[in-house]
Amino acid sequence: MCTSIVEIAEAEGMAKRGDEWFPLSQAVVAYDHARHVSAGDVITLDFFNTSLGADARAAVEITLESAKALRAALDRAIAAAEYEEAEVRGKGAPALARAA
């Protein structure tokens, strides 16, 4: 919390802890002190269900560079998914802009 860089989004889906899957309520993105990666500060992604207790959490810590690569991969996958969705629903697919 020393950096105060925290972003929170509602999340609908499931996440895995150990052998168990649990329903999600929110995703939290922060840039803060690393606890596991051998680095000073890292991007942390926490997927929670706040109604299930503190241990209903799936977490990763990744370097800033890895986070940028992940964001680019998400952007590509989401763009392709939206194209697919539009085709399936017969609403006409927009031109797919592919990232280099």
Binding site: M1, C2, T3, S4, V6, I8, Q26, V28, A30, D32, H33, A34, R35, S38, A39, G40, T44, D46, F48, T50, G53, A54, D55, R57, A59
Partner: protein, 252 residues
């Protein structure tokens, strides 16, 4: 420190925290000491009531202090893994400063009630705990020395204030009730060297009893031996500054 190894006893106790909520505290009491000893209240850092802080609590007992470290995150998960609990606290926007003061007052009162305590109590924290220790020493008058180790967000922009942190700690400085030790790394960004300078200027302006030490080649958390942030030379010197400061202000 003498070349012998003092014994200690450690246990968990339950305190009546802010608004009477039960919270757990880890205490370490030095044994084989004649007479009464000073007390130290440790305010844990953002990663929570964790292994590092339990070890730091024992380190104070080893040095002859009766030490207590209370769990500020008890309400968010109590006995759960500190890592998960701290993540939840982060998602919730941290804990309220007022609640922290109430919980810490309970730890100070517990220590003051111990027959082995000499009546002098120091407070120390690192990271968010440094900020919290400073707030406590400004809002209460029952500690005799305060050590703020790289506490971030002492200087806060107005737009970052909220219901949990309604007042920037730097604006509480006029009420600082005891001597202050500050240790900072010059490569830190939270607090940045500029923010440390602002804090020092305020202390100086108000004629407060303080000593700040700044370390080149160190950033945030340079005492954390288990993290790549660790800086051996600066950490060892910093610990010596802590022993000298508490030794001077908590003796009776």
């Amino acid at each position: 420190m003498a070349f012998w190894f003092r014994g200690m006893t450690c246990e968990n106790v339950t305190l009546k925290g802010d608004k009477g909520t039960p919270i757990t505290a880890y205490v370490a009491k030095p044994t084989g000491v004649s007479g009464k000893v000073p007390g130290v209240v440790l305010v844990h850092h953002l990663p929570g009531w964790d292994d590092y802080y339990m070890e730091m609590t024992r380190r104070f007992a080893h040095a002859g202090y009766y030490a207590i470290c209370h769990n500020l995150y008890e309400r968010e998960g109590g006995q759960n893994n500190p890592d998960d609990v701290a993540a939840k606290v982060r998602a919730d926007g941290g804990i309220a400063d007022a609640q922290m003061v109430g919980d810490t007052a309970a730890a100070v009162a517990w220590m003051r009630a111990q027959p082995e305590c000499n009546g002098k109590i120091g407070i120390i924290g690192t990271c968010s705990g440094g900020r919290h220790a400073y707030i406590y020493a400004c809002q209460k008058k029952d500690v005799d020395a305060c050590a703020d180790l790289w506490g971030g967000r002492v200087v806060m922009a107005k737009e970052t204030l909220n219901a949990k942190t309604p007042v920037a700690p730097i604006d509480m400085t006029k009420d600082l009730s005891c001597p202050l030790l500050g240790l900072f790394g010059n490569d830190d960004r939270a607090p940045s060297p500029e923010e440390v300078n602002q804090h020092e200027a305020e202390l100086k302006k108000l004629g407060k009893n303080y000593e700040f030490h700044r370390y080149d080649g160190a950033g945030h958390g340079f005492f954390y031996w288990h993290r790549p942030l660790y800086r051996e030379e600066q950490a060892m010197d910093g610990w010596n500054k802590v022993w000298a400061f508490f030794g001077k202000h908590l003796a009776k």
